[in-house]
Amino acid sequence: MGRYLGRKLLIYLLTFFFAVTIDWLIPRLMPGNPVDTMIARMALRADVAEVLRSYYIRAFQLDLPLWQQYLNFWIALFRGDLGVSTWLFPQPVIAVIYRAVPYDLLLLLPAILLSWIAGNQVGAMAARVRWLDNTILPLGYILTATPYMWLALLLAWALGHVAGLFPIAGAYSFNIRPHLSWLFIQDLLWHWFLPFTSLFLVMFGGWAIGMRNMIIYELEADYSRYLEALGAPQRLIRKYAFRNAMLPQITGLALQLGAIVAGALATEIVFAYPGTGYLILQAVQNQDYFLLQGCFLFIITGVLLANFIIDIIYALVDPRTRLGMTGE
């Protein structure tokens, strides 16, 4: 188990290193001087442009040799210095992101966990109930094929605009200040419901299909057939199959995280939900490159961290990994 986690950790560290390098490299790889490009696109007053230009030159350290730029980039990173947002000048990027994190977690954690659990349960049920299989399977395929933002738009339009049941923008009503009270929590949940539901549904489809296919595969496996031949009740066989089908679903969760995060970003944009996705949209529209790079690093770190946690859980659940019997 130690070896397994060690190997995983090595991959994550390498990935992080790779990601940070991309983050540093891309602005410098693009044709032309990134600072000039940025300033030119902002269409600012001349004096403001000059101030910004000197700030950018210092920030990008374009006057230093490349290796030094790279080294300093890492040093700044470890100090938690991701630069200053130009959109919300002069707030540091890290502070801007820090404010968005609670909303990301509020949306993502319940949506991921609940859809995963519900999808697994329903998928397992579909594997043995014909009518459920015939309804869940097509529905599941439609849901996984749906772009996250489109389902979000559809729900916002139908339940928000037409039916008027839910608000379609923000994390809370603008006339309420965030504070700890029933009123605020209620308002928060009310705003949270649609983005959560749209994320939940799209993921749910994928998990349900995955579980259904995995469990059918497990029910055909040799150990299931042996138990069946020895007259074991279906209940026991399904229990085993479900447990074993769970393992690839855990791996699947880790592998899907990137796509899920992408979906969450798009969903936040639809609902103007103040998480990282919304920040990215603002950063793109306001040409705030430091904020964009900060969001990038934040997402990478989050996904890698989540991956590692899932790996630990997997190792705890799967005896093969725990005993160090599998290579990967």
């Binding site: 602005p27 097509p138 772009p147 933002m149 489109w150 738009l153 339009w157 964009l292 990038f296």
Partner: protein, 284 residues
Amino acid sequence: MRAGIRHEFLYFALRNAKLRVGLSILLLFIVAALIGPLFARYDPNAYVGPPAHPPSPEYWFGTTTFGQDVYSQFAHGLRSTFVVGLIGGGIGTLLGILIGLVAGYRGGLLDEILNMFTNIVLILPTLAVLIIIAAYLTVRGILVESIFIGCTAWPWAARAIRAQTFSLRAREFVDLARMSGRSSLKIMLTEIAPNMMSYLFMTFILQFGGAILNAATLDFIGLGPTQGMSLGLMMNNAVLWAALQLGMWWWLIPPGAAITAIVGALYVMNVGLDEVFNPKLREL
């Protein structure tokens, strides 16, 4: 014998409901993408009509907040969706085949390195990387977008193909070919790849669908093509210009519905193909 097997596949392929449904929907949209723009009377970005007009005989899908023709945008967007799928999915599949085949066939240190690299790119959230790249590109076209999408999407394919190659490598006919002194490249292309044809084809279908979804998200965030039109860009504009608040469903719904239908059809087709190629899954 081979001809017989091929005949067998055809026999089951024509009888597979999933494959037929998926393929029909896909063909419908391909035809729409091919001839749809011919019926568009306006330039997709030109301001041609009354703003925020619901669908009418004059503007089939209505108009945007600025009076652009939604149908023209849709028809052109559909085209770019297929372009992205074809190029992005194609590059993703090719890279996946290349890396998977070499890693699986060669094994050893090269495999270790390639596998490590695959794992790294696999964990990296694709969209985050695309965002960073796209943000710094001053001019973005559909083609460049497709290429970048393909370049980040291959690890899935590479992993699966590597595993397949591993199992094929141990088989007799590969040994025979190796003993006859043929080069590795030749063996990979003439002995191993043809034996995974069905598998490669299914990989391409999945990559195709994945590329379309990725492009849609990227466009929606506002990092889509700076020139041209795409379905994701339509949704991006719709949200930015308050289509939701104004209840302009004719602008919100068609782009996403088309993507869902195309990608869904691809997935269903894939399941059908799996049943055709995999006798165990054929339903009775």
